[in-house]
Symmetry: C2
Subunit: 282 residues, 2 copies
């Protein structure tokens, strides 16, 4: 029986998170769920240094009632507390998500709390994967049953990772799902686009006449040059995007232990497995 730590940055009530929890249990996984107490979207991989953390045990309905732990910190803190304190037996992998909203591009690798949890786990030597689903603005509220297909696929990716390992030079997988998945949804092995949004600053005036500012962002248009990236896969191909991440390579002076061809070859097996699963969905 596979043992995994499941976390996220949205907190315990997130519908796609609970769907993944359920799918992992249905696959026979032993799942420890440890999540931030509060929503921690866009928190990045911060660490809580200057204040102490609290931990709560919360019964949560996932089929039957099961215990989740809540940590009053960032997603990175949550992973550290789970792996260094709460879990007596080391899990085989750390899974983060499924996040409400996509997490693509280099920019988001540094900003997303969902990915931060997976990076924290990878830096501590664990296999890890981050899962996110694009949510159209029209799709609110979000009942858990909408995410059954996403959760099934995420659980299959986790199982593949546990049984096959990750190619040398790959530390984690970053997976993005389109909201609508059907039997003709493509599955793509991708690299990261650099940015998805252009930021702007919006000035307003408060009731006392003092200015304040909102950060806003406009999506950048997708171009044919972006083919092969996560952003292109989701936006143009309406595909499931699986992006291998190699943390060390951010140093361009790092030896290229991992050549692209070898990684593509090993990962192409995962792409086949998931493509077959998608075709069988109904």
């Amino acid at each position: 029986m596979h043992r995994v730590l499941l976390t996220n940055d949205d907190g315990i009530h997130s519908a796609p998170f609970k769907a993944l929890w359920k799918a992992l249990i249905d696959k026979g996984f032993n799942v420890s769920a440890v999540v931030p107490e509060r929503e921690m979207s866009a928190a990045g991989k911060g660490i809580t240094l200057h204040k102490p953390l609290r931990i709560w045990r919360i019964p949560t309905k996932v089929g039957t009632y099961r215990i989740a732990h809540l940590v009053s910190g960032t997603p990175g803190d949550t992973v550290t507390v789970a792996l260094r304190y709460l879990l007596e037996d080391k899990p085989e992998a750390v899974l983060s998500g499924i996040n409400v909203g996509d997490n693509m591009t280099v920019d988001n690798i540094f900003t997303s709390g969902t990915i931060a949890a997976a990076i924290q786990a990878a830096l501590m030597g664990f296999k890890s994967a981050a899962f996110s689903v694009e949510i159209p603005q029209s799709e609110e509220p979000r009942p858990a049953d909408k995410f059954r297909s996403h959760a099934l696929i995420a659980a299959e990716i986790a199982e593949w990772m546990l049984e096959n390992g990750l190619p040398e030079g790959v530390d984690l997988l970053n997976v993005n799902f389109p909201f609508k998945i059907s039997d003709d949804t493509p599955v793509r092995l991708t690299k990261l686009a650099k940015v998805k949004f252009e930021n702007y600053v919006l000035e307003r005036v408060d009731p006392r006449g003092k200015p304040y500012y909102w950060l806003g962002s406009n999506p950048i248009a997708v171009s044919e040059e972006m083919r092969g990236t996560d952003y292109y896969a989701l936006t143009v191909e309406k595909a499931i995007s699986i992006t291998p991440i190699g943390l060390n390579f951010i140093s361009p002076l790092e030896e290229r232990r991992a050549d692209r061809e070898r990684i593509v070859e090993k990962m192409s097996d995962l792409i086949s497995v998931i493509s077959n699963l998608v075709v069988s969905l109904r």
Copy 2:
């Protein structure tokens, strides 16, 4: 006259930040200083989405009095506000620091607010560099004049970057200084070590009998295998470490636009320039 945006994650009162500001002015740079209102160490590259930001103009003594802008957000927010709202003329580069405390390793690339500001700038298309200085625990308080050498060297690195550009495939420089710099301090071109600390969780009990938890960390021993990394350079060689960062390469599927040899060759000029400057320090 070179125009730069200067920021940090320690706020306006930081001694090594003010030393760098002064050194840039002395070199004839036109400096816009925009910093987070509060200390934002270990905040990572978070974005403030759910609350508005405020901006203040504060006269600050740097030789004569000069205006700094303070932003009530993260270091990444601060850079966005400066580049998209405050600065009418686009700066040629964004400089972050000098940070109080070193910022080394892949782990810290994701956690440091100082580096997050430089990454935000790089993602927005600006040349950038992050500067940090190791602070021994015995060295408190920290008068600004202790950082004159560090600031001179940082300003020289900034000038080199502006006049020579960064090699293709390098988005930013991450620079760490030892606290003590003398005319025999080596200068090293480095890659990132993976982690520097092993985290642990410390349990305490509050006056009401409820447990709470601190995150702590122990430094990992430096080994000969780490030669060539930033952590080895600072710890074993007591060197100034200059680490080129290539954000896209975190995708191992990314084409290797930048080969190591070409980057090393171009950067070796900077290493000579700074080595000569260090020898001339007294």
